[in-house]
């Protein structure tokens, strides 16, 4: 009788271990897929945060530019006097940190290039703005400002 019970217990233990092995295999396979989904969600969140930051930085620049109408005025107001040295003629390349604030060496860059449509009465100045990270463009927009000239009075 004891022999029979012992045989039953061994058989029971064997099937228990078999089940555990199958469960572990299935669980590890499921986890591999689930972790990928979690990772994708996390990366999407990071990209969204990055995109929102880039849009916010670009729209701030555009708003100020549409009032000031010049690169130097816009850069000085937004990023302070230190950032003005990054202006080269009609373009600017400003390094930004991970919070999209001005820093001397940043991982993000804001570039703006101005061009103008000249008329006798005034100029429309356009600024083509790109925010990028390691040569990958995050957000692009073009803004403009109208600068009227003095009246042609007799």
């Amino acid at each position: 009788m004891l022999k029979v019970n012992r045989r039953f217990a061994i058989r029971h233990l064997n099937s228990f271990f078999q089940e555990i092995i199958i469960v572990i295999l299935f669980f590890s396979l499921s986890c591999a897929i689930i972790v990928q989904v979690f990772a994708k969600a996390y990366i999407t969140n990071l990209e969204t945060e990055e995109h929102n930051g880039a849009v916010l930085a670009a729209s701030s620049f555009c708003e100020v530019f549409s009032v000031r109408g010049s690169l130097s005025g816009t850069v000085e107001l937004l990023y302070g006097g230190d950032a003005v040295k990054f202006i080269y003629e009609d373009s600017v390349k400003i390094p930004l940190d991970e919070n999209f604030c001005f820093s001397q060496s940043g991982s993000y860059y804001l570039t703006a290039t101005t061009r103008a449509a000249y008329r006798e009465s005034g100029n429309v100045v356009y600024a083509d703005l790109v925010i990028f990270k390691e040569n990958e463009s995050l957000f692009e927009v073009t803004t403009s400002a109208y600068q009227a000239k003095g009246a042609a009075l007799e």
Partner: protein, 161 residues
């Protein structure tokens, strides 16, 4: 004869627990992915709207330059300035009004199907150094153009004898 009972974790209980855990993890992961994805879509929509707004602003500035060029031209002759002013309405999309103190010129540029960028300018009656003052530069909801398709039915009046 005493029967010995086997006490321990039954076969199948680990599978059931595992299935429950996997289902929970799958649900949470899908929920977090769905939330992240909707956040990304919202951010994209928001950035598209920003781009559309600045495109409309550029178009509004182009139109402003066109109007200012017209004002610049007519301000050269002070005598005909007042009479030439209504011709500003010939510029496409520009409407013209005359108030007690100044001319009112307005135009709107579409941002999306639901909103427009509305611009209003005040222009003095006589040519001056400041040719115009921007009084409004704001987004407005698109005004619906309701078709007047009412049937011409008898209103109960004007009975012909």
């Amino acid at each position: 004869m005493t029967k010995k009972k086997y006490h321990g974790v039954g076969i199948g209980s680990t599978s059931i627990i595992m299935i429950f855990v996997v289902l929970c993890l799958t649900t949470f992961s899908l929920l977090s992915f769905s939330s992240a994805n909707s956040g990304w879509k919202f951010a994209e929509r928001s950035s598209d709207q920003t781009v559309r707004y600045f495109k409309a602003q550029n178009a509004a500035n182009d139109k402003l330059a066109e109007i200012d060029a017209f004002l610049y031209d007519i301000s050269a002759n002070e005598d005909s300035y007042f009479f030439n002013m209504p011709s500003v309405a010939l510029i496409s999309g520009v409407s013209f009004k005359e108030s007690y103190e100044y001319f009112l010129v307005s135009y709107s540029v579409p941002i999306s199907t639901k909103s427009v960028l509305y611009v209003e300018l005040e222009i003095p009656f006589s040519p001056s150094e400041e040719r115009f003052v921007i009084t409004k530069w704001n987004t407005k909801a698109e005004e619906f153009d309701y078709n007047d398709d009412r049937m011409n039915i008898w209103d109960g009046l004007n009975i012909e004898e």
